[in-house]
């Protein structure tokens, strides 16, 4: 079931069981430390569990990198309302394909993470929101959940310890925006995936306006190893303020694309050359996206000296994001890349707020014109201006996600936009009327 051979440079913490025979079955799981962390959590207080997660410096793996222990700490545990666990398995950020690998190979690890989170906040019910395209994973997850019920790890009076917890899968139906936490909750309640105004954050008022722990698949999946190793030891796998390992998806022009588990702080150069086998065809790297298409794009020169962690990427003006690395070689057409990225955000904009709905539509039109070589210098400036004006002015972060890569591509690869204009101007010499396209 593995998608790619492992790399000897990986540090296997979340992926230890990958590649074992029947790695998705409860028997394999139980024979390899499975549910031991949950049993441990049954003898811990809620404060102790949350403290352990805080000590681990685990930061949310869905893209924003918010400290997980702190987030769990925001849940008002004394509230009389029910508390919910919600797993974000919407995985739609272009370049990202790791949650899929985690669920396919080790679904019980995710169940165990949910059980521990439920213990930490006193929750009795959880939902795993899986994007509609991953229908086969719903079957994998349902099977694992069925096994866990049959063996007494889910349901009433779990392991005879007086703990109740029910876990269900829930399918999405094709909408990137439903990966955004508040839109996801709307979708889970049976509505259009339009985001909610915050505060209140889900920790306080999430599913059915009740306190909710909402995290990415990989975030929950990391928790069992944190309890087993101890938070501090887990933190030490990574760098200061960002503990542990990260499932990193190498996509684009690598010789060895694939999903690899690398410690936070892993050098970009080593990741490309040794884990990924170098740039395809021995070419130069022109551009680099560290964590999904929402991140500002780096030039090759900017990216080589960096390390894969939140601070290093922030200093370079981009983000670690979701772990979806996109490498573009020297032959990549950056105008086309910018257009394709905008095409996506325009399609996925939920249309709720004007800067995003209109901004993405106009940017797509401008970029289409520029890509066809029918734009003008002014259009290039306009793309930069429109993206800058969208930033920070939209209802949810999708607007920024559309603007950030676009603005950075236009700024750093302006010469490519100009070259396309110059090329058509030569061929169009003698044509009198200016072009108005799309």
């Amino acid at each position: 079931m593995l998608f790619n051979p492992p790399s000897p440079l990986e540090v296997k913490v979340l992926t230890v069981r990958f590649g074992l025979p029947n790695s998705a079955s409860i028997d394999t799981f139980l024979a390899n430390d499975g549910y031991k962390a949950f049993e441990k959590s049954l003898d811990m207080t809620q404060e102790q569990i949350i403290q352990e997660v805080k000590d681990s410096n685990l930061r949310g793996r869905g893209g924003a990198g918010f400290p997980t222990g702190m987030k769990w700490g925001f849940v008002p545990r004394q509230s009389p309302k029910p508390k919910y666990i919600v797993v974000n398995s919407d995985e739609s950020e272009p370049g990202t394909c790791k949650d899929r690998v985690l669920i396919e190979n080790d679904p019980h690890m995710l169940i165990e993470g949910c059980l521990i989170a439920a213990q930490a906040v006193g929750s009795k019910t959880g939902y795993i929101y899986i994007r509609g395209e991953y229908r086969y994973l719903i079957d994998v997850m349902d099977k694992a959940i069925g096994e866990a019920y049959a063996r007494g790890y889910l349901g009433k009076n779990i392991l005879g310890r007086g703990v109740d917890f029910d876990l269900y899968t829930h399918t999405g139906a094709g909408a990137y925006e439903c990966g955004e936490e508040s839109a996801l909750l709307e979708s889970l309640e049976g509505n259009r995936g339009q985001p909610r105004i915050r505060p209140p954050f889900p920790a306080v008022a999430g599913l059915y306006a009740c306190p909710t722990v909402l995290n990415n698949v990989e975030t929950f999946a990391a928790v069992p190893s944190i309890l087993l190793m101890g938070g501090k030891a887990w933190a030490d796998l990574g760098v200061a303020k960002a503990g542990g390992t990260k499932l990193t998806c190498l996509t684009g022009h690598f010789n060895r694309t694939g999903v690899y588990e690398l410690p936070l702080g892993f050098p970009v150069e080593k990741m490309i050359n040794e884990v990924g086998g170098g740039v395809r065809g021995g070419l130069k790297m022109k551009a680099f996206i560290p964590g999904g298409s929402s991140c500002p794009v780096l030039t090759g020169d900017e990216a080589w000296p960096l390390t894969m962690d939140y601070d290093s990427m922030a200093k370079a003006g981009t983000m670690l994001g979701s772990g979806g690395v996109v490498l573009m070689d020297e032959n990549t057409d950056m105008v086309k890349a910018a257009l394709r990225i905008m095409h996506f955000y325009q399609h996925e904009s939920c249309g709720w707020c004007i800067p995003c709905r209109e901004g993405t539509t106009w940017l797509k039109k401008l970029l289409t014109r520029l890509d066809r070589g029918m734009g003008t210098e002014k259009d290039i400036d306009l793309v930069g201006d429109v993206s800058k004006n969208m930033m920070g002015r939209t209802f949810c972060p999708l607007g920024d996600a559309a603007a950030l890569p676009t603005e950075s591509i236009v700024r750093k690869f302006r010469h490519e936009f100009e070259a396309k204009i110059a090329k058509t101007q030569i061929s169009m010499a003698g044509v009198a009327s200016p072009f108005v396209v799309v």
Binding site: F3, N4, P82, E91, S92, E93, P94, G95, T96, C97, D99, R100, T125, Y127, R131, G132, E133, Y134, R135, Y136, Y168, H170, T171, G172, A173, G174, A175, Y176, S187, L188, E189, G190, N191, R192, G193, Y208, C249, L250, T251, G252, H253, T257, G258, V259, I289, S293, G324, V326, L327, M328, T332, K336, A337, R340, I341, F344, H347, E348, C350
Partner: protein, 160 residues
């Protein structure tokens, strides 16, 4: 409307997955699962689901129009979805889509006259490290070349 016993069992399990008074939560999964059997979201299906979940048909409809995987017209028996998003684009996903268009003689979201095939250019579907990727209905195919695509389509055609 009557559904197959397997689907009914699935729907019963589904409506029992949510807390009392939160029946509407079952809406999107219910639409997805029934669409698979019925073929599309027909007006009759909208009414049926509205009845079962004790909401109005308009409440169902407003959800149907939001989600890209829910459709009011039937797609082909084999719905070929080609990803052309960034990671696939870098492995010639756009050319693969062009190839599929010619091979099938169909455009974006078009269905063949015999109802066997339909084509869609789709957004990232979480197969980026194994690009370019396609899905035939819910089945993933990775590292797809034009030749491999031809083989897939030809073998599906032979089934008839």
């Amino acid at each position: 409307m009557t559904f197959s016993p397997e689907l009914e069992a699935k729907l019963t399990k589904l409506v029992n997955s949510y807390p009392a008074g939160r029946l509407k939560s079952a809406l999107i999964p219910m639409l997805m699962f029934t669409q698979d059997e019925v073929g599309s979201i027909t007006p009759e299906l909208v009414k049926e689901i509205a009845n079962r979940l004790k909401i109005t048909p308009v409440q169902v409809d407003e959800v149907v129009t939001y989600y890209s995987m829910l459709h009011k017209k039937p797609m082909g028996k084999y719905h070929i979805q080609v990803c052309t998003n960034i990671s696939c684009l870098l492995w010639d996903g756009d050319k693969l889509y062009e190839h599929a268009r010619h091979k099938l003689g169909l455009g974006h979201k078009e269905v063949s006259a015999d109802g066997q095939f339909s084509l869609e250019e789709v957004e990232c579907m979480g197969a980026c490290s194994w690009a370019p990727a396609i899905q035939v209905n819910y089945d993933f195919h990775h590292h797809v070349t034009p030749e491999k695509l031809d083989e897939i389509i030809d073998s599906l055609r032979k089934l008839h």
